[in-house]
């Protein structure tokens, strides 16, 4: 039904264009003197061509024709708008959305395959990572449990738990330069905020602490554990310092002073986003 109407309008438009040409010719001949007779001729022409009757309504025929042209242009513009919108809709529904869903599926497969890593980090830090929208369980320190690494006989489990407690002995650590890693730093344990950046830093430090503690095998000078025996004498800087502790020398990248304190914490300067 729409197509037939379009054909009729097109035919009318062509008829009108012919009529316009004839009107122009007539107006050139009469030179602005539009008598009643001329108008009658023009109206008859309009009727003969099957044109629009609204010529009677307008004082100037040229204005009417321009209005018609404008109407035609309006229709054309509306059609172009409609086609562009439908093109956009088709593009989005047929190309973009399926592509995004495929991308999401691929990302989900990646997370599923790397889930074991997440578990490992969670257990090492004894922290529950935020995976859901709820922030309530974020950063909860779980009960201390056995570490993932081979157990070391220290008599206490303090070394295996990620305890970020500031120590009184760390006051001496502030003398060293802050640019070096492996220094003592006062941890802001009081800032138990749920800020994600702080949580991330905490997790980083916990992981580094675990690794450092395991490989450095605590601060105790007595090497009773089998783990410590496995580690070579030159492996840990703490051991070297322990030997030099008596001399009281201070060097960079080495722990100072009170090594015997089991609650000492080593923090590495980690990159901050």
């Amino acid at each position: 039904m729409g197509k037939s109407e379009k054909r009729r309008t097109k035919k009318k438009q062509s008829n009108k264009q012919d009529f316009v040409r004839r009107c122009n010719v007539n107006s050139k001949k009469q030179r602005g003197q539009k008598t009643e007779g001329a108008l009658q001729i023009e109206t008859q022409l309009a009727i003969r061509e099957g044109g629009i009757l609204l010529k009677f309504c307008f004082p100037s025929i040229m204005e009417a024709m321009s209005i018609e042209q404008i109407d035609q242009e309006i229709t054309l513009h509306l059609q172009s708008i409609d086609s562009d919108l439908s093109y956009c809709f088709n593009k989005i529904t047929k190309d973009v959305i399926p592509y995004v869903t495929r991308y999401g599926q691929t990302c989900e497969e990646i997370t599923n395959s790397s889930a074991w890593l997440k578990e490992m980090f969670q257990q090492s830090a004894n922290v529950q990572l935020v995976t859901d929208q709820s922030v309530e369980s974020a950063g909860q320190v779980l009960e201390p449990r056995a570490s993932l690494f081979p157990k070391v006989d220290h008599g206490t489990d303090e070394f295996h738990t990620a305890q970020l407690l500031g120590v009184a002995g760390t006051g001496n650590a502030n003398d060293d330069k802050d640019t070096n890693r492996g220094q003592f730093q006062d941890q802001d344990t009081e800032e138990m905020t749920l800020d994600s950046a702080i949580e991330k830093q905490r997790k980083k430090r916990k992981i580094s602490l675990q690794i450092h503690q395991q490989f450095n095998s605590s601060s105790s000078a007595s090497s009773n554990s089998s783990m410590e025996k496995d580690i070579s004498a030159n492996s840990s800087p703490i051991r070297m310092i322990a030997a030099d502790a008596e001399t009281g020398t201070e060097t960079n990248n080495k722990i100072q002073g009170q090594l015997a304190n089991p609650r000492t914490v080593i923090h590495f300067n980690s990159k901050r986003d």
């Binding site: 729409g2 109407e5 379009k6 009729r8 309008t9 009318k12 629009i52 009757l53 609204l54 309504c57 018609e68 109407d71 035609q72 309006i74 229709t75 509306l78 059609q79 708008i81 409609d82 919108l85 439908s86 956009c88 809709f89 989005i92 529904t93 973009v96 959305i97 995004v100 869903t101 991308y103 999401g104 990302c107 989900e108 990646i110 997370t111 790397s114 890593l117 997440k118 980090f121 990572l129 995976t131 929208q133 890693r181 492996g182 991330k200 997790k203 980083k204 992981i207 580094s208 690794i211 450092h212 490989f215 030159n234 492996s235 840990s236 800087p237 990248n253 590495f268 980690s270 990159k271």
Partner: protein, 72 residues
């Protein structure tokens, strides 16, 4: 008297309105999908950061213990 044009234009306008509504709906769906994907990727981002930190700490550890070897 201006009926032909008005009729045609009203038809076209009705079609435009329909297209705009469908487009709006599809854009809303697209937005939801993107938000879902973004939320899922946050975990991946966290894990990648942790891995990177682990690598850094291991690197430092090896450097400190002078056990770092040249790449093969």
């Amino acid at each position: 008297m201006e009926n032909p044009y008005e009729k045609v234009q009203s038809n076209i306008l009705a079609r435009i309105i329909g297209n705009v509504e469908r487009l709006n709906q599809s854009v809303v769906i697209l937005n939801q999908e993107l938000r879902r994907v973004n939320a899922k990727n946050k975990n991946l981002e966290l894990m990648s950061q942790m891995c990177e930190n682990y690598r850094e700490s291991v690197d430092f550890q090896l450097q400190a213990t002078s056990k770092k070897q040249e790449p093969l």
